[in-house]
């Protein structure tokens, strides 16, 4: 069971009470997302679709590596890994 830091992007901070970084436990990224959902209801639906896979406009990086080039949601985690949730944002205007 790894204890990891998760950076929360601006569009999701309303679900975490404004927290920009939270600590959760999980062996894999999938477990971390479930742990986030337990603490911050509704966050999982913003990240994953009905089949449980990452939404196409959301990227997740573990220690600055895109998980799509690792094992996706099954990527295994170690203590103190830093997870960045990076949804596409479109603003510029």
């Amino acid at each position: 069971m790894a204890v990891v830091k998760v950076r929360i992007p601006a569009p999701l901070q309303s679900l975490t009470g404004g927290a920009t970084e939270v600590e959760v436990q999980g062996k894999t990224l999938r477990e971390v997302i479930d742990a986030l959902e337990q603490n911050y209801a509704g966050i999982k639906a913003r990240l994953c679709d009905e089949s449980g896979e990452l939404r196409r406009f959301v990227n997740i990086f573990v220690n600055d590596q895109d998980v799509r080039s690792l094992q996706g949601l099954d990527t295994e985690l170690k203590d103190n890994d830093e997870i960045s949730i990076i949804p596409a944002i479109a603003g510029g205007n």
Binding site: F57, Q65, D66, I86, I89, A90, G91, G92, N93
Partner: protein
């Protein structure tokens, strides 16, 4: 007249690696700023300040009051005016030696080539994902560097795309977020626009390390900047092997 022109750029000409030659490179360059809003206004302003020879500014919208907390080239008197005309008026008065080309219209697959074919570098200062995708595809097809920026609230992102060398926008995001009105602190696009303008200058001068395969994430609330690594996606629908 020649002396007076260079005087304006004196402080940057002193920069290591810049010099009069660098300044001449800037004045020979054409940069297209796509979007004249929160990002586009400061980007265009600073590229004009630096003496980029031609700055094209493209936007389909007119100035609205809700723009005025951040779209610094548009003022109270400009409400209702096409943004590119409002921007062009200020930019031309700011630096009469830069050629400003305002284009009032929407970038689509039909218009993108006609408006951008003479640009050396494209700046993505847009506010919606579908048009960003059109721009990304065009930049990749024409191998033009694309300096991307995006914001939301206190958070901003930036990266510099060199087609076929670095990840493109489609390598990073398969699709965009749900659309809608979103919050923006005025300083956020200000910060990201400065990152974008800095990247443009570095590309034109051949100096420093651009944000190649680096995605910069700025969080104004914690005042942190961090980067994540990008790489070309082999199956990218735009720049991948089978595209």
């Amino acid at each position: 007249m020649q002396e007076k022109k260079w005087l304006r750029y004196h402080r940057q000409i002193l920069i290591d690696g810049w010099g009069k030659e660098g300044q001449q490179n800037l004045s020979n360059a054409h940069v297209a700023v796509v979007g004249a809003g929160g990002l586009g206004c400061p980007v265009a302003l600073y590229l004009t300040a630096a003496g980029v020879g031609t700055v094209t500014v493209i936007d389909a919208d007119s100035v609205e009051e809700t723009n005025l907390n951040r779209q610094v080239l548009h003022w109270q008197k400009d409400i209702g005016k096409p943004k590119v005309l409002s921007a062009a008026e200020k930019l031309m008065e700011f630096n009469p030696y830069v050629k400003i080309v305002p284009i009032h219209g929407r970038v689509t697959e039909e218009t993108v080539d006609e408006w951008l074919r003479n640009a050396d570098i494209i700046v993505d200062a847009l506010d919606n994902f579908p048009t960003r995708q059109v721009l990304n595809k065009y930049a990749v097809e024409t191998r033009k560097p694309l300096v991307h920026g995006a914001i939301y609230g206190w958070e901003g992102r930036a990266t510099t795309i060199l087609p076929y060398e670095t990840a493109c926008l489609a390598c990073l995001f398969e699709e965009g977020p749900p659309s809608g009105v979103f919050p923006v602190v005025g300083t956020t696009p200000g910060v990201i626009a400065m990152v974008q303008a800095t990247e443009v200058l570095k590309l034109l001068l051949g100096l420093g390390q651009p944000l190649f395969n680096r995605y910069l994430i700025y969080d104004g609330l914690t005042m942190t900047f961090h980067t994540v690594k990008l790489r070309r996606h082999p199956n990218c629908p735009v720049c991948g092997r089978s595209s």
